[in-house]
Amino acid sequence: MLVYLCGKKREFKKSLTFNRGIYGELKLEIKNTMKETTQSFPKIELDNLDNLWFQVGGTLCNIKCEHCFISCSPVNHNFEFMNFEQVNEYLKESVSIGVKEYYFTGGEPFMNKDIFRILESTMKLGPATVLTNGMLITPEKAERLKSISDNSIYSLEMRVSLDGYTEKMNDEIRGEDVFKKAMEGVKYLVQNNFLPIITVTKTWEDSRDEEVLYGFIETLKSHGYPRPRIKILPSLKIGQEAVRTKGYDKYEYVTNEMLVDFEASNFICSNSRIATDKGVYVCPILIDSPDANLGNSLKEADKGYELKHQACYTCYLFGAICSNFTSVGRDA
């Protein structure tokens, strides 16, 4: 429909090559190449860097979720942990820019041994949010987080990912025993005065929305979290999720026409950047795309970005998917 209105299309090419491996075995290599043509995509300028993200856990995670959009796992070294010094450099730079909020993601941030020092340093400057699977949060770690929070005037938000309100529903996506361990982590956080934001990626049909939301509320209440905050996210059909589902439809792109009378601030690239151990990328979703690397400093990354990826389509449809706003549905 609207995909190719503003220029020539890009051509996707699949090439098959047979090579010999080191032991002389025959190996089939499939290469997907994209031939850039004159297709023009809408460009979004960085209005103000309000939200600075850190890929502090790299792409390393203690679990391997079926729907992870950057395919994190215990062995994915595409991005490594960021150390204290690396993060601090960006924090320093962020002050003169006037960054409003700091977010820490991965991978699993609590696998990074520097995470507590990093949070202490951040919370002197502004509010911080950590995106975690909750499994590595022990009573001692939860107490340490409480102490960091208590020593700051700013909010420390803990976003714990769960993808089902039962063990079966969750662990089918996130792996065996994940539900139990994550719920333990939630309990320790609640005991230490946190109101963790339970972040759920939507993997069910629309008709089940209400049932699933209330399922979460009831389960969390029965696990010692009396007034749960819940954030439901659309799935991003890239990385592992493209393998689990059919991925994006070929027409699911953002076009110039779609942005007429559209509020550009709905795209997080208008107000966010993410620092990694390999430089600054346009947004947390696209770090696997080399073209999304915008430089080695926040200053260098202050440039516009073309919405050429299909994940941008999800951002177009849902907006604000990365912020902390939560949802609890209607009164029962």
Partner: protein, 261 residues
């Protein structure tokens, strides 16, 4: 020269608290009284608010609610993302829109986005949410000092005053700058107290001093009027108990945990 000004935050149709606040500010000797917008919403009979403001010559900054009602928009642009919050916001908006006289709608449409004046040598800027966005939430626990300094620099102000969040706070910034959230008089602050409050900003020995002044008003009379107007029980509960029952999902954790819900 102005030395002492009263700043009134969101009114939310609470005409009883508005009258009590104006009376109090006059008794305390305010040189001027300003209102930071959001005149309607939540409370009953919005038209009772305008005569108090106009008769007392109170300059008003346009809030997101005033912008919506004035321009006949479909919703209040409150910035909520939760369906339950939006459900209640919609009930309240439809009621307020229906009950607001066309003359006042036009008056709200033309309210300014900001008001500037000088308090001694200090350049004061009044805006509703933030100087850069009418419905931006600037909470105490999610607004860094360096961010506020940048706002002061970008908008050439020494003192920035806002409302919109519903909870008052203030911060002294490096370089003799100040930020003040004046609070609101429309509903209590989610702390179990039924009073509301406004802020008195004054010059004292060439320094800026800001004081939040609680206002006790006849909240039972307001609750009765809300009931007569068939406004949601959840809203009336807030007026009578001091605890927020709606619009909770935008609260950062440190503000949220202080509340009951």
């Amino acid at each position: 020269m102005l030395k002492k000004v009263a700043l009134i935050g969101g009114v939310y149709s609470n005409h009883i608290a508005l009258q009590a606040t104006v009376d109090d500010a006059k008794i305390k000797g305010a040189d001027a009284i300003y209102c930071l917008g959001d005149l309607g919403a939540f409370g009953p009979n919005p038209d009772k608010v305008f005569p108090i403001l106009i008769d007392n010559k109170i300059p008003v900054v346009q809030g997101n609610y005033d912008n919506s009602i004035g321009n006949g928009l479909d919703d209040c642009q409150c910035g909520y993302t939760d369906p339950r919050d939006n459900y209640y916001a919609k009930l309240s908006y439809d009621y307020t829109f229906k009950k607001t006289n066309d003359v006042f709608k036009l008056w709200m449409k033309h309210l300014p986005a900001e008001i500037r004046f000088e308090l001694g040598n200090y350049k004061v800027l009044l805006s509703h949410g933030s100087p850069r966005q009418i419905n931006e939430f600037l909470w105490e626990t999610t607004t860094p000092t360096h961010f506020l300094q940048k706002l002061c620099e970008d908008y050439k102000a020494d003192v920035i005053c806002t409302t919109h969040t519903g909870i008052h706070w203030k911060r002294e910034l490096p370089g003799n700058k100040y930020f003040v959230n004046a609070g609101v008089i429309g509903r209590p602050e989610n702390d179990g107290n039924t009073f509301v409050g406004y802020t008195m900003l004054q010059l004292e020995n060439d320094s800026i001093k800001s004081e939040y002044i609680p206002i006790e008003y006849d909240h039972h009379a307001l609750a009765k009027e809300m009931k007569e107007e068939k406004l949601p029980e959840k809203f009336i509960e807030t007026i009578l108990t001091g605890w927020w029952t709606t619009c909770l999902e935008v609260l950062p954790s440190k503000e949220r945990i202080k509340g009951k819900y």
